[in-house]
Assembly symmetry: C5
Homo-oligomer: 320 residues x 5
């Protein structure tokens, strides 16, 4: 599906014109968006726009890393958006020339609709040309990263708050999922950051001073997103280690209680076993109070063992 | 709430003048602080001061990373202070022009009161202009980081000293909390450090040599804070590992004692069980001294097991 | 075995000509591939082509790191291909001069056949000369890395999806194998990346602007491969840690169930032991309902212990 | 306490002259050391020497990071020495001007006595001026780091040698102490290294070529100290991991032996328990050889269990 | 012991001449090797060669880090060789001037004999001068690193292959030893690499283009050695983690089998205990088939427990 927008030399914004209208050169700037393309639409990249074959190859074949390439007459950007459900990166290809922007992408991308809306709304920016249109697109693409990262961060803050509470038990599987999501996000955000840095500092992208401030604003966002991803990954590592140690100490505490019970009863059971033997000649058996004495001895043994454990501090060892 | 201070061309300091007075241009330099702003006060940023829309957006919307941007007629700083209780970063926006400083922040910030006091006190600095006023503000902001980091460092030194003592048991949850606090601090301190570095080395911030020494002093502080945060994070990792190994070896020592008890008694209990069987034909049962012999054998077994354990060095294995 | 291809001054492509034909200088450019060389063919490097002795030494002796060296009249590249089965790196030596490419390698390499095919097919590129032929070779070498890395990545994604499922048990040995494969891949991919970077930015390799775009395309691939290898290594570490914690918590859950069973029965067995003693004077033994009372007490003890465990939350502790 | 030394214009070294003598300008160079200063002596920094207020602030207040600042007429160094007992860093402030060195420090520092001695001894260096005096001081400060780092390194080498021996049991607490000491040392050594690097490469410190060799020699030492600290920290991590795994495998071996004993006896005890039951109708009890048969069965069970364990390789599992 | 070699102005190589012959200046270049020096030979460094005192100090006192210093009339290199048995670094000091090389070392070094041999053999290189002689020495020093690193790498590859096999049990102590050896190697190889890099890129070392290729060849080797050391250290970490998890899961499997045995028998033993009690009124005891019924119940309990374990999947849990 192809969507178009452009500004004519008589200061009007025209929506959804035909590609043929471009040839009449009546546009100050225009943006052609090729989304979910048919085979015929794919071919337009070379037949109609005459982009560089390497750029077209990057559009059509597997996911590229975010980057910018400069060819005669156009710069070629590869940007990433995220599929909000799977957090898989998706590729948005963007060509910028003197007076045009062309975007090309296989999955539908709502970021582009938002950019189009903002362009239509801000009449005062209409005279800024193609690079400013490109700015709106990149800005919306990067803005869409924030809810994803904030969601992870909020979730981690939640976990962090609950972590010390005794009743909360964190599944380490969740933490692993978060870590792998952050890894995936990082693989897009860091190259996007470096890409915008190169755009800001390259002599080949002829950014005007006014545009620089706007791309600088995007760079800020990417710096912050990069920081957040990195420190959230460190936080997940801390949470995982902390939770594993909590689990293991809780587990140990229980094992110790259970083992203590066994340890107290085993010698007593042995004594009972001794007096359950059937030897003919076991003089104690006949004594009057021997049964009660043995019970008393058993009690003394049990109590002394517990006292010794308490003296050794084993009971408060794993209290918290 | 708006607070103002400024120096008139006739060498006086005036406090809390009206914004309208500025227009009459009687000030060598002035500082306007907009704190906990009302909606009307927020609007002043654009309607009265005419700051760049991107800078105003950064003031009004979510927390930015510490940074400096240069626009026509003013530089725009985003600084972080810390909420001393939650250790959450809070945003202080600072605009510096030729002869003015404007600060804008949502939460109240005592650092600004301290900066104001110092400005009033140091009469000899009054002629240094707006950038020196900005220095006082940034200096107070960074000075306020120290008590927070020192508190964590002192606490860690405390823990470190107690760690080897036998009676001290550290909750790993505390260590995790410290680590996450240090992570949070780092997210502010490192970008603040880089920000001051850029201020010192940028050609756009026209720092005089005298001012450079003062901003260099702040940079020293941030370098030291950065070092402290990093090495304290490493220390917490060491403490955590050390404590986990202490816990686990203490736990193991106890389990081993308990298990040893069981192991000694289990064969003896078996023997008792054998002579508790009710077979008609068990010749040993009738022998005169068999009971005592069996008791003796049990004793010998128990003693030999303990002796073997001792010989194998199991008893001193987990001594400390 | 020697294979040749070249373009004569009258615009033809000639395949498999004799080395002697070169001397007659009828070639615009030519490529000589020396694969699985005999001793005589090895000697050609010095006797026929007169390459630098250090470059020849690098061809003949042990595996070099990917690199480029510049000598009078030729640049010398060491490239790595992978043995697809063992993932061992194999060395491809490549000499480029004004009008020639010479490749030298001990194992057979199908990447070279593919490069040759593409050269023959793309008639429009025939006039681009030796450096473009070199591009085709390097491109095919790097393209062949992708299936290897993608295979590992797909496998890891598979593991990641199954990881939280209860019935899936991952052998940590597999993860270790993947990690060591990734280590091996990294040892080739990172130096290859740096090598292409140097080629792109060196003044000594006189790349034309058109060729730069092509080598830049290879550089993109290597950047992406480098990212994939690094983040997949991090992912394996996460998977390993996650799986170890899953294993250990499953194991702990089972141990706890088993230990709980023991703990409940051990005091009961002790009581049974007590009433199995053979003392003459054990008044309870004669009472009418004492057996049933004791059975009841045993039941009460067992139930209270289980109730206490439940109250303490031990049963749901390791549920998930 | 103030100590002075200087060289007069008539080529003499004068010790412990009065500060007032300086004003008469009879010195080619002089060094004033202010150690453990009284309040009056502290004031000299501003009243007598007129150093920059920021430098004086750094002298008087809390520990600074090692650094160099350049002010009009003097450079200001902050150096660290170590308290040899606590390994705490201590601050040595050093001012260098055209013809003077001033040192200021709160704790006593024997390094300064050594520097003074060397200056007095080396008559041929007397004409080199203030910067060479500063070199002697910095050199002695850095030389004093070596015994501290060597002591840790020797201790670690010792541990490493003993580690595999069976009788040696390392307290992990010691390793933790070493790690935290190394962390503390690193916090001084790395900034000291960077400081000397800046001195060597700065245009502001007007080092002559001859002096450069001498400061370069200090830089060598700091590079080596930095390497040693870093690799010793890695070594401690390795030792800790190795020791933990040795501990845990020793512990496991013992637990397994103990558990094996229990496992062999528990079924036997059960059998004994069965024939200890008091049912009236238990035909086996009356048979002539049933007791001996049961004993034999018990023996067979025990032996088969042990044989199965041996067949499964459990006995040699934890041998080493 | 002093060994000499040099080339006279009439194109001859002279071996083992006297130091006094040098003064007559008849040499185009010469190399003096001072190995295992006597006190008198040590003094030659200053009395005969007049090297810089800082360089002489570095020769005579403790082990330096690999480095290069430039003094008037000579460059001074500190190189490391390895003691092949202990893997301890040993210091080789090398002075290079316009027409001389002087080496100085305390332990004997076979690398120098090899360098001398190669010099004598390669008559065509005789006219290249002192720097080429230095190249031969450095080359032989670095070549000698390879067998050491290859030995470790081969050993690790061996371990890696055996790791998944069930019968192979790796001592973690060995892995620790390898790690500490790699640490030691790294402490030499990385500074050696940086040293050669500085030599290649420094303006002070006046390397001719031809020599650059040769030193570049050494740099290649050091890059590769550095890579190998780093990735082998990562591999040892992986092996250690993998082995620890294998050990622990094997151990856990065994513990679980043992615990399962106990868990099955403990309730049965309890039941036997109950019917071993000596109460007068235990009606079941008198019933005709109660003994057989109880045996049957015991069997049912045991079988149901095992069935439940199997249903829960515990038996295949730790199969692999
Ligand atoms: Mg694509
Ligand atoms: Mg935005
Ligand atoms: Mg949040
Ligand atoms: Mg907490
Ligand atoms: Mg996910
Ligand atoms: Mg912004
Ligand atoms: Mg804001
Ligand atoms: Mg301050
Ligand atoms: Mg402190
Ligand atoms: Mg301690
Ligand atoms: Mg907190
Ligand atoms: Mg300061
Ligand atoms: Mg080779
Ligand atoms: Mg390709
Ligand atoms: Mg995939
Ligand atoms: Mg999962
Ligand atoms: Mg493999
Ligand atoms: Mg491409
Ligand atoms: Mg101080
Ligand atoms: Mg020294
Ligand atoms: Mg040593
Ligand atoms: Mg060892
Ligand atoms: Mg200490
Ligand atoms: Mg030295
Ligand atoms: Mg030496
Ligand atoms: Mg070599
Ligand atoms: Mg090998
Ligand atoms: Mg394997
Ligand atoms: Mg060793
Ligand atoms: Mg080579
Ligand atoms: Mg355990």
């Amino acid at each position: 599906m192809i969507r178009t927008i452009g500004r004519t030399s008589n200061q009007e914004i025209i929506n959804d014109f035909q590609l043929e209208d471009i040839k009449e050169k009546m546009f100050e700037w225009y943006w052609v968006d090729i989304g979910e393309p048919t085979k015929e639409e794919e071919i337009l990249l070379s037949s109609f726009f005459h982009f560089h074959p390497l750029a077209i190859e990057d559009c059509l074949f597997r996911l590229q890393r975010p980057k910018v390439d400069h060819y005669d007459g156009h710069s070629f950007f590869v940007l990433h958006t995220f599929n909000e459900e799977t957090l898989e990166a998706e590729e948005l290809n963007l060509f910028v020339g003197e007076n045009f922007v062309v975007t090309f992408h296989f999955p539908p991308m709502h970021e582009l609709d938002q950019a189009r809306e903002r362009i239509v709304e801000n009449t005062k920016w209409w005279n800024r040309g193609a690079m400013h249109t490109a700015y709106h697109i990149v800005d919306k693409v990067v803005d869409a990263y924030f809810p994803i990262v904030y969601k992870i961060e909020d979730y981690l803050n939640d976990i962090e708050d609950k972590l010390s509470s005794d009743v909360y038990h964190l599944s380490l599987d969740q933490v692993f999922d978060l870590r792998s999501d952050l890894l995936r996000l990082r693989r897009t955000i860091l190259p996007m950051r470096d890409l915008i840095y190169r755009v800001l500092n390259s002599e080949r992208v002829n950014l005007q001073q006014t545009e620089k401030a706007y791309f600088g604003d995007i760079y800020d966002h990417l710096l912050k997103l990069g920081d957040m991803v990195e420190s959230n990954r460190e936080l997940t590592a801390d949470i995982r280690d902390s939770q594993m140690s909590i689990n293991s100490s809780q587990m140990n505490r229980i094992m110790m209680i259970l083992t203590t019970v066994s340890t107290v009863f085993i010698p007593l059971t042995f004594i009972a076993g001794v007096y359950g033997m059937n030897f003919t000649n076991m003089p104690e058996l006949e004594w009057r109070y021997s049964y009660f004495i043995v019970l008393g001895i058993m009690l003394i043994i049990a109590v002394s063992m517990l006292a010794w454990f308490k003296y050794k501090g084993w009971f408060n060892l794993f209290k918290n």
